[in-house]
């Protein structure tokens, strides 16, 4: 765990940054419109309409593009950095967030990576706050693909901090969102955990065989946790045979290291991993 974490997420700072980025974009659009108007309305001033106005627009555009490109370059390498050198990832994130102005999608993606990093560090309260802020923004362009991943992180973070209504809302939005296979598997694990937490054992066991088949596609640890959750649901619903079969499989899948945790109901597995490719990448 890095010693020197950047200051906790501040929604006001986030809003200010977004406002500045939007203002810059507004200036650019206004510049283009002014240049066109100058051409039409001031045909005699060719120097202004043909040279100065386009030069100003081009300058603004280049400034915005260069700073955005800096952020975009950091975004592509950030996943590897976070896995290999978490200390340096904090520094990289600090630099990424301090660049201004950048295009809106780059700003949103930077905060999306920050949410992923905090999720990995198990700072779930902060994860939930960042995800909620991002989801309240219109996610367009390259940032649009992060929506399912944000919802998944939010649902899991809310479960981790014990905010069941918050988890329910995130899961409800996920039901209406188109997900890739890896994300569907993550949603299944989170939803089953939620159903166990609220005592909806019958819901957890609905189409249990299909859920087991899907669980088989998960990474080994998550597969074991999913089996343990279904086994617990079956046990509590009084379906002893099914529960025994699931526990037997869980024992084989979890191994002696993980099994005691699962038997005590420790299903916290952080199934949602930091996404480094805008949300549609295989886990």
């Amino acid at each position: 765990m890095p010693k020197d974490l950047i200051t906790p997420f501040d929604p006001e700072r986030f809003a200010k940054q977004i406002a500045l980025d939007d203002m810059m974009r507004g200036l650019l659009i206004a510049g283009v419109i002014s240049a066109v108007l100058a051409t039409v309305l001031l045909p005699g001033m060719a120097i202004v309409s043909g040279l100065i106005a386009p030069a100003v627009v081009l300058g603004l555009w280049l400034w915005l593009s260069v700073s955005t490109a800096r952020v975009a370059r950091s975004l592509t390498t950030f996943g590897e950095l976070m896995a290999a050198q978490p200390d340096q990832a904090e520094d990289a994130m600090r630099q990424m967030l301090s660049v201004k102005p950048v295009m809106r999608w780059a700003r949103l993606l930077s905060y999306h990576r920050l949410a992923g990093m905090r999720h990995l560090q198990r700072r779930f309260t902060e994860t939930a706050a960042i995800c909620l802020c991002l989801l309240s923004q219109p996610l367009k362009g390259p940032a649009a693909a992060t929506r399912p991943h944000l919802l998944l992180m939010l649902a899991e973070a809310q479960l981790e901090v014990g905010n069941l209504p918050g988890a329910y809302h995130a899961l409800a939005h996920l039901q209406q969102t188109r997900l890739g296979l890896a994300q569907s598997l993550q949603r299944l694990a989170i939803q089953t955990r939620y159903e166990l937490a609220v005592g909806a054992y019958d819901h957890a066991l609905h189409r249990a065989r299909a859920k087991v088949e899907l669980a088989e596609l998960m990474p080994a640890k998550h597969c074991a946790a999913m089996h343990a959750m279904l086994a617990t649901a079956a046990q509590r619903a009084g379906q002893t045979r099914q529960s025994d079969w699931l526990w037997e499989r869980t024992r084989l899948l979890a191994g002696p290291d993980l099994m005691p945790q699962l038997e005590q109901g420790g299903f916290s597995m952080a199934v949602v991993e930091p996404d480094t490719d805008n949300g549609d990448e295989p886990a």
Binding site: V36, T39, A46, S49, L181, A220, E248, R249, L253
Partner: protein, 303 residues
């Protein structure tokens, strides 16, 4: 004698090793053409030239703005194409994940020519091809794909070790025992030093395949406890390892008639126990499909 049914044109037929080698040679990863790489620069030069020609003309002032718009349209078009290719690669991978190997293979096969100028996607498409071919039992063709990837990866790349293990398994399964053994010997130290439990597990499975193919059942039986424990990170796939362990125990009984009756019973029970574990995770039909050797010995294991 009835004539065999004509092949279904809607089902992708897995390629042979030669067909795959030809496909890979025809569509290698390549740099984008020079004119594509320098597209934006060429556009700027063209606009500058036009501007010079149009000095004093009424449209002169609007030209830089049109150039800017053209550049933006070009870049967004490039981004859209990249996103579409990415989606196709994800789709192929997802099909392989849900075990629809022929469809995954077909998608990745068609994706290959389209993503030549994107080395990362090109590599991913070949990885899907290799994986699907190995799962379909087309081990020689899978080896071609693994070899192609390994020739182009730096030796210390994190994926290289895993691919070499897969290559060894494909070589062993296609009966090329010397090649498989050679790869495994070179890998042993590296895999054990990697501290990646899933890699150690894959190595354990590869060794079991080797023991079964070379008839070293006693070695597998002696190391059974350690191997079984090491297989856990494979998840459900560990079932294949347990089935092979069961086979080793059963064959140990068959090939060692001098073993005492009590010891025979113990070995037989162990075979049954491992078979039970294997079938708890994977249906018997799937086990036999992957390792046909199990079919001949199933009655013994069941006893």
């Amino acid at each position: 004698m009835p004539t065999p049914p004509a092949p279904n044109p809607n089902v992708f037929e897995p390629p042979t090793a030669e067909q795959l080698a030809r496909h890979l040679a025809r569509h290698p990863a390549a740099q984008a053409a020079a004119w594509q790489q320098r597209g934006p620069l060429l556009m700027v030069i063209a606009v500058a030239g036009l501007a010079l020609l149009m000095i004093g003309q009424p449209g002169f002032a609007l030209l830089p703005l049109f150039a800017l718009l053209g550049l933006m349209a070009y870049l967004s078009g490039q981004a859209r194409t990249a996103a579409e290719l990415q989606q196709r690669a994800v789709r192929a991978w997802e099909l392989a994940m849900i075990r629809r190997y022929r469809e995954a293979l077909g998608q990745a096969w068609e994706l290959l020519p389209a993503c030549r100028t994107r080395p990362e996607l090109h590599g991913r498409a070949i990885t899907v091809i290799a994986h699907a071919l190995a799962e379909l039992g087309r081990n020689e063709a899978a080896e071609v794909a693994y070899g192609y990837l390994l020739d182009r990866l730096p030796p210390d790349h994190p994926l290289a070790l895993r691919l070499r293990l897969q290559q060894a398994m494909a070589a062993l399964s296609s009966g090329r025992l010397a090649d498989g053994d050679d790869i495994l010997r070179k890998l042993r130290g590296q895999a054990e030093a990697s501290h990646d439990a899933s890699l150690t597990a894959a190595l354990g499975l590869a060794r079991l395949i080797q023991d079964v193919h070379t008839g070293h059942y006693a070695d597998a039986v002696d190391a059974a406890d350690g191997t079984a424990a090491a297989l856990v990170p494979l998840g459900v796939e560990a079932g294949y390892g347990y089935a092979l362990l069961a086979l080793c125990f059963a064959m140990r009984v068959k090939h060692a008639p001098s073993v005492e009756a009590a010891q025979r019973d113990g070995l037989q029970q162990q075979a049954g126990r491992y078979w039970g574990k294997a079938t708890l995770l994977i249906p018997p039909a799937a086990l036999v499909y992957r390792y046909p050797e199990l079919h001949k010995l199933m009655p013994q294991i069941k006893d």
